[in-house]
Amino acid sequence: MSASKRPSPSLSLLLAASAALVGNRSARADEAAPPLQSVGYRFHVYDEDAFPDRPVIGSPQRYHVDSQQLALSARAGERETLTLNAVHEVMSGSSPWYLVPGPDRRPIQVLSGATIRDHRNAIDVALTHDAGGNDTTTLDVSYSQERDYHAAAIGAQRSVPLSSALTLGFGGSLSHDRLRPTDAILYGRIERAEKNTWSTFGSLSLVLSKYAVVESGLQLTLQSGYLSDPYKLVTVADQQIADTRPDRRGEAAWLVRYRLAATARASLHADARLAANSWGQHSVTLELGWYQELADGWRLIPGVRYYAQDRARFYAPFFDHADGRYFSSDYRLGAFGALSASLDLRKRFGHWELSAGAERYHAATRYALGGADLADPATVSYSRLFAGLDYHFD
């Protein structure tokens, strides 16, 4: 051995060399970072247009909903994020009851005399595990409660990158809903009922260029149980009977979503959906959004949406003959279409973000897929306003 060299003391080297063995907890940022990532609050006002001055039995005032939304997202582990979304809604107004043929066979809407006052509380908790490299798994549990309706759901979804450009998504959910209609005895409604919903989806998303991504997905849903509306009646051969629908419904929806970073400060969102169900309904949805960043943390997001559906096999405003097993005159099963426009304004200052926006949803029978013979007077247009405040901790 050569003559002794002077050793070179370095505590930082000793600490570094031992870091992998005993860790260096104080140096890690994740422990210093607050577990809470963001908190958000939204207030929404949803207001349906009143019936126009047409012959109406009952109050012309339709649904009005005030909703409050509270959401938070927090770190729940080194790779886990927990998000919680709670909703409290207060609903009021009267809802369409049934239709009767008028003198010229145009349907006349009958509204339930009583004004509904109800509220809904819902909570959704989701846990996302991020395995790194865009490989994520999310489990979520939700519960929604109204005076006459309870729904509990669980869901799971996974996103796996297949290559640097292609990502596979898949998942499923299961919902169990219980109904206990009010005034069941008085109106001869079903006293209690249940329905189950199974849903599964698969999707592929593809990076098209430095500026564009596209995603295509298929969702299949199967419902079974009591799928009728306990509060609605239907006129069959001049008699009002309970809304009666099949106890099964299968639905398939194909969705395509496209995002384009159109400029350095703006992006285009284009979503399309085609859906069909076993009740004979088809629908088309097209949605466009423009996300424009302005100076000083302002952002403006205008959007338009087109939706059109045709009618279910067993839908008619009223039925002259009682041939068939199923009858419904719920306008949602009729043929109609809707155009809506929305505008969102956001301002970011520091960790805070203030947002406000509005949507005008205009529905009409003339926009229906394939047209419709008779306009359902219950087809509804609405306006929506919202304001919100978010705080991001990072």
């Binding site: 050793p7 000793l14 060399a17 031992s18 063995l21």
Partner: protein, 288 residues
């Protein structure tokens, strides 16, 4: 670990403490089985059997080897885990002094330059045997403390034969009072210091010591000469972890009285050195 071990805990319940104790026992037993210098079924023994051929080692062993490499560089070759054959010669269990020929033979299989280490592959020179003394007991103490914290016990001390790893201060936040062993009377404390966290390790000539004809031969052997180091009777160091404390203490022992003291001062770690005449030096002298 072939030495008295103790665990001082402050926990919410006996069940809590027992849970932590069980975890510590299992971990210490695991590391003992894996890295024991004496057991013939240890990983070190199996690596010695495979000497000459490359073997892929697990991540923990690889991390220990990388740490040992840094210590080897810092001590300019005096800290050398390849000296397993040499340290065995000078072990108290032998009861006699090794012959010059035995020392020469052991030296021929010693030397970090004779080992090929490219994570995760390790190739020992034929006949070579590793000795992780000065690292592994201290590492075990740190691991045990970490396991206690993971089990929810945040106040306590792990004591593996005088090498201490603090789980955390007393539950009221006050530090633990711990003793530094006197090398010639290990049952007595040479000094007492207050420690809230981190580790304390002592390297001395009083353990595994070969005594022949009234002369003490330390188990800490200089791999360059093949003979035990002379100088300090013991060196105690306080650091962020027991592992760092133990490594620094062993290095100071190897460097000897003059250089060892300077080395510890330059590292800036609190220490107490006691030479073979019982004279104390270092910035923990006030605690004596």
């Amino acid at each position: 670990m072939g030495c008295p071990c103790a665990l001082h805990l402050e926990a919410d319940s006996v069940a809590h403490a027992e849970h932590a104790l069980a975890a510590v026992r299992a971990e210490v037993a695991r590391l003992e089985a894996k890295y024991s210098h004496y057991r013939e079924d240890s990983l070190l023994a199996r690596l010695a059997d495979a000497a000459g051929t490359p073997v892929a080692v697990d991540a923990e062993t690889a991390n220990l080897l990388d740490f040992a490499a840094t210590l080897h560089a810092q001590s300019d070759g005096r800290f050398d885990i390849t000296a397993g054959r040499l340290t065995r010669l000078w072990d108290a269990q032998n009861g006699r002094l090794p012959t010059a020929e035995e020392i020469a033979r052991a030296l021929a299989t010693t030397g970090w330059h004779r080992l090929e280490w490219r994570r995760p592959r390790l190739r020992l020179a034929p006949g070579m045997r590793l000795d992780l003394g000065g690292i592994v007991k201290e590492y075990a103490a740190d691991r045990a403390a970490e396991l206690c914290r993971a089990a929810g016990v945040v106040a306590g001390v792990v004591d593996l034969g005088g090498d201490l790893a603090l789980i955390g201060p007393h539950r009221d936040g006050t530090p633990w009072r711990v003793g530094i062993k006197a090398p010639r009377a290990p049952e007595r404390a040479a000094a007492r210091i207050e420690l809230p966290r981190g580790g304390l390790a002592t390297s001395g000539d009083y353990e595994r010591t070969l005594i022949v004809a009234g002369r003490r031969y330390s188990h800490i052997v200089d791999p360059r000469t093949g003979r035990p180091v002379a100088g300090f009777a013991s060196v105690s160091v306080v650091a962020d972890s027991c592992l760092i404390a133990g490594a620094a203490a062993t290095l100071a022992m190897l460097l000897g009285v003059a250089e060892g003291g300077a080395y510890l001062r330059e590292l800036g770690l609190p220490h107490l050195c006691i030479d073979d005449r019982g004279r104390m030096s270092g910035d923990l002298v006030f605690a004596a």
